[in-house]
Amino acid sequence: MKLTLKIWRQKNARAKGNFETYKMDNVSPKMAFLEMLDALNKRLVEEDKDPVAFDHDCREGICGACGMYINGHPHGPIPAITTCHLSMRYFKEGETIWVEPWRAKSFPVIKDLIVDRTAFDKIQIAGGFISVNTGAAPEANSILIQKKKSDDAFDSAICIGCGACVAACKNASAMLFVSAKITQFALLPQGRIEAKERVRAMVEKMDEVGFGNCSNTGACEAECPKQIKLISIARLNREFYKAF
């Protein structure tokens, strides 16, 4: 395949970025999107040019490191996958592809397609845990949990912390991300004990680091590679009201 790439290049956080155009020949439809970028970078390095910087690691959709805005969608136009799982077979011969970093005040651009997502860690540090010391845990089967509740907790616990929800939201809201953790723990008896402190601390931090409020649009749910449901934001709100 022949393709034209329009990639956001930005030297560092202070620099003014712009789109650069790259022509790609010989792209195999069996390549993954990031492998196509690897091929571009190989060419750039061989020409002694600065390769495109982007975050990536596991390349199998679970670490949450990769994330770029492709043709106006976080992780590209195909639902429920991460950028590393996006196959080139979804693009057409001769297509122009626009590639940008996540855009949100709380995710400042570091270089090119790499953004700083430590704001997410800060929210988790504020309260995304159950306070139990190593060695103090009761025998695992002494905590009985309804299968349905446990399964539902799992469905929220699978959030990979990639930030697509924030990038998709016109308010740059992190509520889907926060609600995933809140929901996981709210559904489990282990998590109920400090539920009030947790939700207050996480929401307070979420506001402090500059994420916006939920816009009720549902773009986050539509773009989430792990299909975390919007209803978890409703649960976050309920947990939050109950905490006062």
Binding site: D38, C58, D121
Partner: protein, 639 residues
């Protein structure tokens, strides 16, 4: 260097750990705060150790190369985590788990360490459950288990196909709690470039801030490496593409012995290579072999679509060769059998390097719904990558490099041969012998981090309480930093034509071809020549654009590949030294008449621990003889 002292406690196997804990030196709570510990890596062992040490009151500094500790590669483990809970009443016990691991490892692991790993496995499950890890449950609310990889009991706890992710997020949450309390300081996006020794003891590290390129010095009373394995030495593997051996290799060059480097597990069920720019090979969980049948056509070069090949023209080669275990033989056996068929010309697909994993019969028998409920997410992932619907046609799979049983040599206390330097999780060599059993890695790495290291490290630190905070202005820090900078400058000043990744890819091909699933003396010797040539070319023709004082991903890669060149030479030499076939290490010269591995317990029942002797000099081999008092060394048979 003297004789290796594994420091295994006296007494019966079952009471060694309890006795050790009861007699180990402790550090007074008031002194713990003054003691600093550096932990490198935030996978299950690193995040676990950091949180447990923080809870105890030590001052912990934790480092990872990712932007967040939550992305460490433990996150990608799929199948499950073993524990000897015996919840199924199927005869499981600590001893049976220990025995399965010793046997699965082909009698090349240390009895005392393996027994302890089995012993703490139950505490690991208790702890993760308390942390809110949503393991699968039965309708009555109790935890569910499944059977996994070459054993006859059901002891594997799981969270669908994402057990590693769920455990890691649990460990990440406990780490966050200690960060909030101020007991752990987190340093993400840092790569360890060397270790600093003062008077022979590990006292600090030199790291590069990957965002700014700044070189930083950090000191501590002890250093813990939780840096994972080196499976990316094959370039294409199931590992995260940035996983690397550099931290362990730097420690090795400073005096830590490297044990059994050639013991690398090749996982049988991975998505085959699809294009020349392929960056990794995605694992398809081993659990699929519970219901999938592995086959190739009986006729060479049969290019008909799988579904058009009639039953009598299919060779279910695992069922044929291993009637007792069939498709459920251990990973090393399954991988070699697939390679044997493909090498003989029966492989499928454009490359001929793939075999079928077929669910047709299971779907017919159990219904699509049941298969979907068990493996839905794996079928989805396969379809995402390949575009193929495996409910209709078979998956295509091929083995790929996966897990390194070898690693830094450690004693019973998980200390390397450098005083004050520890290695935990996949970074050490201790528990899996020559082959790791499925779901035993999450178990071992979590046990090391949460329950073992926090108990053993006090034995060393108790004697360090009078050592004040170590200044990073000391000449040892100065010298180490200077050497690090020189090396970084060297990469940048070569100004050749080729990328680090292209060298890595070629090195990986050499390793895969000559030191992969099957090895022989001729091939290994050839590999040494090829590696040397490629290494010279690397130092002549590498190109790293940009500077080291800025974000520079090409520079990061160059350092890792340079270390892989050195490690690969050691790996091949270790494979040459071991003139037997055991576990994942299969030497063609040493096999039975029907093609099975031929172990040589008389001459090779030892851990090969290699000492670095200096640039360009051959490594020195130290042997730790393995003695088995509780189990009989049997021939591993799955026929």
């Amino acid at each position: 260097m003297g004789k290796l002292n594994s420091k295994i406690p006296e007494g019966p196997l079952a009471t060694k750990w309890t006795k050790y804990k009861a007699s180990v030196k402790l550090v007074n709570p008031a002194n713990k705060k003054k003691l600093e510990i550096i932990v490198i890596g935030t996978g299950l062992s690193g995040a676990g150790a950091s949180s447990a040490l923080g809870e105890l009151g030590y001052s912990v500094k934790t480092f990872c190369y990712q932007d967040s500790p939550r992305r460490a590669h433990s996150v990608a483990a799929q199948g499950g985590i073993n524990a000897a809970k015996n919840y199924q009443n199927d005869g499981d016990s600590t001893f049976r788990l220990f025995y399965d691991m010793i046997k699965g490892g082909d009698f090349r692991a240390r009895e005392a360490n393996v027994y302890r790993a089995a012993e703490v496995s139950n505490e690991v499950i208790d702890h993760y459950t308390a942390l809110g890890v949503p393991f699968a449950r039965d309708y009555g609310g109790t935890l569910d288990t499944r059977s996994f990889g070459g054993v006859q009991v059901s002891r594997t706890f799981y969270s669908k196909g994402q057990t590693g992710q769920q455990c890691l997020l649990g460990a990440y949450s406990s780490l966050n709690r200690q960060i909030k309390k101020g007991n752990v300081t987190m340093f993400p996006r840092r790569e360890m470039l060397d270790i600093v020794l003062i008077d022979g003891k590990a006292r600090g590290i030199i790291v590069r801030n990957l965002l700014t390129g700044e070189i930083e010095r950090h000191s501590a009373h002890a250093v813990v490496l939780a840096t994972g394995g080196y499976g990316t030495i094959y370039y294409l593997s199931t590992l995260a593409v940035n996983s690397n051996a550099s931290a362990a290799w730097k420690a090795h060059k400073k005096g830590a012995l490297f044990a059994n480097p050639s013991f690398i597990q090749i996982h049988p069920t991975c998505v085959p290579q699809l294009n020349e720019f392929q960056a990794k090979l995605t694992l398809m969980s081993e659990s699929l072999r519970n219901d999938g049948r592995v086959w190739v056509p009986k006729t060479k070069g049969d290019i008909r679509p799988a579904n058009e090949i009639p039953e009598e023209e299919r060779d279910y080669f695992l069922e044929r060769r291993y009637p007792t275990f069939g498709n459920l033989v251990p990973r090393d056996v399954a991988s070699r059998a697939a390679k044997e068929r493909c090498d003989a010309g029966f492989g499928i697909g454009e490359t001929g390097l793939a075999v079928n994993l077929d669910f047709r019969d299971s779907i017919k028998k159990q219904g699509k719904d049941i298969i979907e409920s068990k493996y839905g997410n794996l079928f989805d992932m396969y379809k995402t990558i390949t575009g193929i619907d495996s409910y209709i046609e078979p998956m295509r799979i091929y083995p790929a490099g996966h897990y390194t049983m070898g690693g830094l040599w450690v004693d019973y206390e998980l200390m390397t041969t450098i005083p004050g330097l520890y290695a935990i999780g996949e970074a050490n060599f201790s528990d899996h012998g020559a082959n790791r059993l499925g779901a035993a890695s999450l178990m071992q790495t979590s046990g090391d981090g949460y329950f073992i290291l926090p108990n053993t490290i006090s034995n060393y630190l108790a004697d360090e309480i009078r050592v004040p905070k170590i200044s990073t202005d000391k000449p040892e820090f100065e010298e180490t930093e200077k050497a690090v900078l020189e090396r970084l400058n060297k990469f940048i000043s070569i100004k050749g034509k080729q990328t680090a990744a292209s060298f890595h890819k070629r090195l990986g091909k050499i390793m895969w071809d000559y030191c992969g699933m099957v090895r022989n003396e001729e091939g290994l010797k050839k590999a040494l020549v090829l590696i040397k040539e490629l290494k010279d070319e690397f130092w002549r023709d590498l190109n790293v654009p940009g500077e080291f004082s800025e974000l520079n991903q090409e520079l990061e890669k160059a350092g890792r590949v340079a270390d892989y060149f050195e490690l690969s030479e050691l790996l091949v030499n270790d494979a040459l030294d071991r003139k037997e076939s055991c576990g994942a290490h299969f030497r063609e010269e040493y096999q039975t008449a029907d093609g099975e591995a031929l172990r040589n317990d008389e001459e090779f029942a030892y851990v090969a621990a290699w000492e670095y002797a200096g640039e360009g000099k051959p490594h020195i081999l130290h042997k730790e003889e393995l003695t088995f008092n509780e189990v009989e060394m049997k021939v591993r048979s799955y026929k």
